[in-house]
């Protein structure tokens, strides 16, 4: 075993004090790149990438290198604040008064004690998605308190209900990427992996650049030609929100026109051979209950565990006990016929000939049947990958969009094999010194894959059983949903009453999320926030949401914080593919200023005051898998540093505690081919036919029949359909653009817009702060770049901004970089810059997917010029 170290270097500096490089981790987006921060005489003067770590691979993005500007921003909060004005509203002065931590925590604890005694579910705990390391402290606090209500505001709501679910079910991971080292043909559907912010961002950028230089062809399907498309071999513009039908048409070409499928893969790694009856369910063996397959060897139906996969029929019609049934793959094949390239062209605007060409290229490049030797191990080789993320999944149809795209990988056997589409890091053999951190996908119910690890102990498959809602988001009823709009929807009371939520939330504990900007139109969110009796918020700055907060707690930022796992969970910030495992910590490179305190220590203090410290410790023991002698004792008071030390020793042995990590920064060890390319060596299957949807649908409807609600059939079919967004159905004259937003690579959510260096870069960029419309379409309407325009939805929501005419956008598209347009004085650099896209988004039941609650993130709009270019 080789363990590489990244040492904390400390040397006497010139006269007056210290000169040290502190290994730590960025937290300006959830990529958590490893950094080295240079502190000279108590001032951090530089941040650079840590070359000893694969998390970032020694590189940082523009946000990372300019992190000092946010850190030393004079507008940072330094004292706890309490509002004196009971009236809450947008732009209404809260009348902030500085209070002591003692006063703040006493008031919060008294309220929390009362609420817990009444009903712990009345507490809602919410975090920004940006700081992944906040998950354990806040989730443990919530679990210890006894509330199921946790949320990630807009960062969660806008991102991932389909993407994470399907990456979990099909790849045992949170998200997917091409295996950059070996992939020859990658097709991106509304994704930017390796070209922008987000998961394993900097690591992927290097890997993607190397892959392109090696000759990997990259096709990007996107309404806008920006971060990924600009570096791609080919940009395929399409109508907003129609990725699913395009992918399904490609699948149709591969299956029904080319007939190029990976039969052994489909037989052995999917439920393609499982027989499906007329009720759309598996035909089961009456004795064992196992799904039956048709055994071509003995010409009879037998349980799938009893039949060699090579003998399993994928096609045909069979009779079992006199009832006609078909292998799931036969049903998929028939189903795909309805997605002809010509039909898809009408929906997507992508020419049918192009769809055929792309499908042919993908199937050809897949090299079905080939293998490759990596580190002396022969593994299946399919150098193609179809990946997707926010763009394609941010719609009512998110599950089916993403599933249609992933079927491309499944059909040619390019899932979690060399060169293919990889879930990042779902299999790990563990740290060699202790065997800890070992996890591997495994077969579960009906032989379908259960993740070995995911985001905590809530796995994507099997789906939980629908039940009467206990959670304000209703995810326990609509069990395919993770994030829910009902945290702040305009109709939340109506929804809660209708579906019988037995209580109402009273207290919101918020960590860094700016809900007012991140979810939808601001008046709707404001009304929801006004209903809370107490809102407490850990923040770095006052922002738009602060106008509704009762007590603001001044937080430490990432350069002042400690986390034993800077990336949560372990799979999250790692690049996929071969290379090294790497575990790094975040540690302070600078001291808190004023009365800033680290949120994790504050939560422990609060837990103690509320009387739930033993419960929080129990939640941490369970979440961190702590075993003796490192389990936290119920009644002992620990500092957060002590808990970090326990976790590190638990995972890496007594010699590798917090002291070791403070000095060395990261610990690394090599991956072996059976880790990134685990699929070939696991028995688990994945569902190309989502039989479990039939059951979920039936159970939801049984629960909701009393309130007169029936979940629509078209969202619960086991095979993917195209369900248009509401914007696709808008036919009102004059409303002829599909407005969408994209994540500007210069920014993470809305927080970094306060950074002056990033602001300067954004002002130099023609797109960051403008509204992008297709040049020929704009010019045909007499518009010029720089004109001031109003963008208005059918219900009268509107935003204004300067237009940028560009060839790099679909003629029907209108693109806005997400989460600019701040208006609060607490972030003066960000204030008044760019356009607040979310103002165009309705936040209600009608705009949420009835399948996974995904919010519809596009709107049909009309454009009016209201001012000339300067």
């Amino acid at each position: 075993m080789t363990i590489h170290l990244s040492r904390r270097e400390e040397k006497p500096s010139n006269a007056s004090g210290i000169d040290k490089w502190v290994p730590s981790a960025c937290a300006l987006c959830y990529a958590t790149c490893s950094i080295r921060a240079h502190n000279v005489d108590g001032v951090v003067i530089k941040i650079e990438g840590n070359p000893d770590s694969v998390v970032g691979k020694g590189k940082l993005c523009g946000k990372g290198v300019s992190g000092l500007m946010g850190h030393y921003d004079p507008n940072r909060l330094t004292r706890p604040l309490r509002r004196t004005n009971p009236r809450k509203g947008i732009g209404v002065d809260p009348g902030w008064k500085e209070i002591s931590w003692e006063e703040a925590l006493t008031e919060i604890a008294e309220t929390l004690k009362r609420v817990r005694a009444e009903d712990p579910r009345k507490l809602v705990v919410q975090r920004t998605t940006t700081v992944t390391a906040s998950r354990i402290p806040f989730h443990s606090f919530a679990a210890g308190f006894g509330t199921p209500n946790i949320a990630t505001a807009g960062g969660g709501l806008h991102c991932g209900n389909g993407a994470h679910e399907i990456s979990g079910i099909m790849h045992a991971s949170w998200s997917v990427v091409p295996d950059f080292a070996y992939c020859n043909y990658a097709i991106y559907f509304g994704a930017s992996k390796g070209h922008s912010a987000g998961h394993a961002s900097c690591s992927n950028m290097g890997l993607a650049a190397d892959a392109r230089a090696r000759g990997m062809k990259m096709v990007v399907v996107d309404p806008m030609c920006n971060f990924a498309s600009a570096k791609a071999s080919e940009w395929v513009p399409l109508r907003v929100g129609t990725d699913g039908p395009l992918a399904l048409a490609m699948c149709n070409v591969i299956v029904n026109e080319l007939g190029r499928i990976d039969e052994p893969y489909l037989q052995s790694k999917t439920n393609g051979p499982y027989l499906i009856g007329p009720d759309k369910r598996y035909v089961r063996d009456p004795g064992s209950g196992e799904p039956l397959v048709w055994d071509c060897g003995c010409n009879e139906a037998r349980p799938y565990t009893k039949v060699p996969s090579a003998s399993m029929a994928l096609l045909g019609e069979y009779r079992v006990d006199g009832v006609a049934c078909h292998p799931a793959f036969q049903l998929l094949k028939d189903h795909l016929q309805s997605f002809s390239p010509e039909a898809a062209e009408a929906i997507t605007t992508v020419p049918a000939a192009n769809i055929r060409r792309l499908a042919t290229e993908f199937a050809t490049e897949a090299r079905i049947g080939s293998t490759i030797v990596i580190d002396g191990v022969n593994v299946p080789y399919r150098p193609v990958a179809a990946i997707a993320f926010r763009g394609s999944q941010g719609h009512m149809n998110s599950t089916y969009n993403f599933l249609g795209i992933d079927l491309l990988n499944q059909l040619v056997g390019a899932a979690d094999v060399a060169g293919g589409c990889l879930g990042f890091n779902p299999a790990c053999n563990g740290f060699p010194g202790t065997g800890r951190l070992k996890y591997r996908p495994k077969p579960g119910r009906d032989g379908l894959m259960v993740s070995g690890t995911w985001m905590g102990y809530h796995y994507p498959y099997p789906m939980a059983e629908p039940r009467a809602p206990q959670n304000i988001g209703l995810q326990d009823l609509f069990v395919m949903g993770m994030n829910s709009p009902f945290l702040a929807s305009s109709d939340q009371e109506e929804v809660w009453t209708r579906f019988g939520l037995p209580y109402r939330p009273e207290v919101l504990l918020n960590f860094g999320a700016n809900m007012l900007m991140s979810m939808g139109t601001k008046e709707t969110v404001a009304a929801a926030l006004q209903r809370y009796k107490l809102i407490v918020s850990f923040d770095l700055f006052l922002n738009e949401t602060s106008d509704f907060v009762d007590i603001v707690l001044p937080d430490c930022d990432y350069l002042q914080s400690m986390d034993s796992r800077s990336t949560w969970p372990f799979i999250f910030g790692h690049p996929a593919g071969m290379g090294e495992w790497c575990w790094g910590i975040r540690q302070p490179a600078d001291e808190p200023r004023g009365e800033q305190r680290r949120f994790a220590d504050v939560l422990l203090d609060l837990a103690d005051r509320v009387g739930i410290l033993p419960d929080v410790h129990a939640a941490m023991n369970a979440s961190l898998n702590l075993e003796a002698p490192y389990r936290l004792l119920p009644d002992r008071r620990y500092s957060w540093d002590e808990i970090c030390d326990a976790e590190l020793k638990n995972n890496f042995g007594e010699a590798h505690g917090l002291g070791w990590f403070k000095k060395n920064g990261v610990i690394t060890w090599p991956k072996t081919p059976d880790e990134p390319y685990w699929r070939a060596t696991t028995e688990a299957r994945v569902p190309i036919y989502w039989e479990f949807m039939v059951d979920i649908h039936e159970k939801i409807n049984k629960i909701t029949q009393q309130c007169g609600y029936k979940a629509p059939d078209e969202y619960y079919d086991p095979l993917p359909l195209f369900n248009p967004c509401l914007s696709h159905e808008c036919k009102t004259p004059g409303f002829d653009f599909y407005a969408f937003y994209y994540r500007d690579t210069l920014h993470s959510n809305s927080y970094t817009t306060e950074n002056p260096w990033l602001d300067e870069a954004a002002r130099l960029d023609p797109y960051s702060y403008t509204i992008v419309v297709n040049r020929s379409v704009g010019e045909a309407r007499g518009l010029k770049s720089g004109d001031l325009i109003r963008v208005e939805t059918e219900v009268g929501r509107s935003v204004e901004g300067r237009i940028c005419l560009s060839e790099a956008i679909h003629p029907e598209g209108l693109g806005i970089a997400g989460l600019a347009g701040h208006w609060h004085a607490g972030m003066p650099v960000a204030k008044g810059k760019g356009v607040f896209f979310n103002e165009l988004l309705e936040l209600d039941f009608a705009h949420a997917s009835p399948q996974n609650l995904n919010l519809d993130l596009c709107a049909k709009v009309k454009v009016t010029r209201i001012g000339e270019a300067p």
Partner: protein, 116 residues
């Protein structure tokens, strides 16, 4: 095997008898609200399974407990974690026999996943 609070008839562990062993039950989080006494000590038959013990707890503390931990009568929620003497266990695992000693049985329901 089903572990339901509403089963009729005696279940394993319901009747006390010779050879029973004591278990210290630690209910955390929302479950602690259902049972303020912590730890709660119960006499159970030796070798009882975790599922049977949960059924017994349901009878003692009410249906709300089982509704919080059991997704179906035979399956607990994936976010419900059970530990015996600090080690994670599942419904079919049996309580270790600890002659003269006590086993610690911990139960907590964690929070579900959220995205981003």
């Amino acid at each position: 095997m089903e572990y339901s609070a509403s089963e009729s008839g005696p279940s394993r562990g319901e009747a006390e008898g010779p050879g029973h062993q004591a278990v210290r039950l630690w209910l955390f989080g929302g479950l602690a609200v259902l049972c303020p006494e912590r730890p709660l000590t119960l006499e159970v038959p030796p070798g009882i399974t975790v599922g049977e013990l949960l059924g017994l707890l349901g009878k003692r503390l009410g249906a709300a407990l089982l509704e919080s931990v059991m997704e179906t009568p035979s399956r607990k929620f994936s976010i419900c974690r059970v530990f015996i003497d600090g080690m994670p266990v599942d419904l079919d695992d049996r309580l270790p026999e600890t002659p003269g000693g006590l086993s610690d049985f911990e139960l907590i329901v964690l929070t579900a996943a959220e995205g981003g």
